[in-house]
């Protein structure tokens, strides 16, 4: 009779340590995840340049990331876009944002946004220059040309 009662009692494992461990893992992944990486087209093969330094804006600057493939096509979050209208639209939005902050852009003044150019190493200059000129026409002056510090896998 006593055996029967012990068989019927439900086994209740202590889940607290397991839950602790899972929460620690979640915390780790939350800290290392970077949603901004979605803006970077990882299919591009960037040039290798030893003196290229990692981007350090200290959170002060806004970035306009332009992925340009070997054929000169601009990709935004994986979608091909026409550079002219896209850059004009971004510049307009930036100007409106500055205006709403009470610091409107004076005529001829440069935009504080940094244009980050991630171009494939095989992109011909004439195609790249079209994008740079479009940015300059919309008062972008700060540029960052992306490159890898060393070849991947080395």
């Amino acid at each position: 009779m006593a055996r029967t009662s012990s068989d019927l009692s439900a086994a209740q494992p202590n889940l607290t340590p397991l839950l602790d461990m899972v929460f620690q893992l979640i915390t780790f992944f939350m800290l290392v995840i970077n949603f901004k990486d979605a803006a970077l087209d990882q299919s591009l093969e960037l040039p290798v340049l030893g003196s290229a330094r990692p981007l350090d804006t200290k959170g002060q600057e806004d970035l306009l990331i332009l992925n340009i493939d070997a054929k000169g096509v601009l990709h935004v979050y994986g979608t091909p876009r026409d550079p002219g209208p896209y850059i004009a639209d971004e510049a307009r939005q930036e100007e409106a944002r500055l205006k709403s902050k009470g610091t409107p852009l004076k005529p001829g003044e440069e935009l504080p946004t940094m244009v980050v150019i991630r171009a494939d190493k095989a992109t011909p200059f004439k195609l790249l220059n079209e994008v740079i000129k479009t940015c300059q026409n919309h008062n972008y002056r700060k540029f960052a040309l992306k490159a890898m510090n060393r070849r991947e896998g080395s």
């Binding site: 981007l55 011909p124 200059f125 790249l128 700060k142 540029f143 040309l145 510090n149």
Partner: protein
């Protein structure tokens, strides 16, 4: 009194299974979306639109005045980069003088660095920016090698050179 005691003694048992389910789902999401990207470097530049070179301004006082009014009076050093059929560097000129001919390898880039250093390192150097005239077919990778050498130069006030402009070479420039 007896009733209160019996209540406080009753154990509160939270069902952790559902919380654990949710935590595992969150964990699965983060594991699946985690993709460590390689650390990318960059060259930071201030790229104003190309302006007439200094020698043109000196010859044309009206152009010089217009440039001064628009705040674009920086003395400009001109570097021309020519490309071969594959889009690699074939030769580089600094102010119409050949810096090197052949590929942009370590030795040739060192020659270019020396030429630019000679122009910038002299006391009271007038140059404040570089205009790079680039062959249209030059590949981005090759251009970056030249830009890298240019950004290593320092202006007369000891500041790292950041003002660089690009100009696409015309057909007549390439024939020179």
């Amino acid at each position: 009194m007896r009733r209160r005691l019996s209540r406080s003694k009753a154990e509160v048992e939270l069902n952790l299974a559902s919380m654990l389910d949710m935590a595992f789902q969150l964990l699965a999401f983060f594991i699946l979306t985690f993709r460590p990207s390689p650390i990318e470097g960059q060259l930071s530049l201030h790229l104003p639109p190309a302006v007439p070179a200094t020698n043109v301004q000196a010859e044309r006082p009206d152009v010089a005045e217009a440039a001064e009014a628009s705040g674009t009076t920086a003395k400009t050093l001109e570097v021309s980069v020519f490309a071969d059929a594959e889009g690699d560097v074939s030769s580089v000129q600094v102010e119409l003088r050949v810096a090197f001919q052949g590929p942009a390898d370590q030795a040739n880039l060192h020659k270019l660095d020396q030429k630019l250093h000679e122009a910038f390192a002299i006391e009271g150097s007038p140059f404040e920016q570089i205009v790079i005239r680039v062959a249209p077919d030059l590949r981005y990778e090759e251009l970056m090698k030249v830009i890298d050498v240019c950004t290593r130069q320092k202006t007369a006030d000891g500041q790292q050179l950041r003002k660089i402009s690009f100009v696409e070479m015309s057909g007549t420039d390439r024939a020179k």
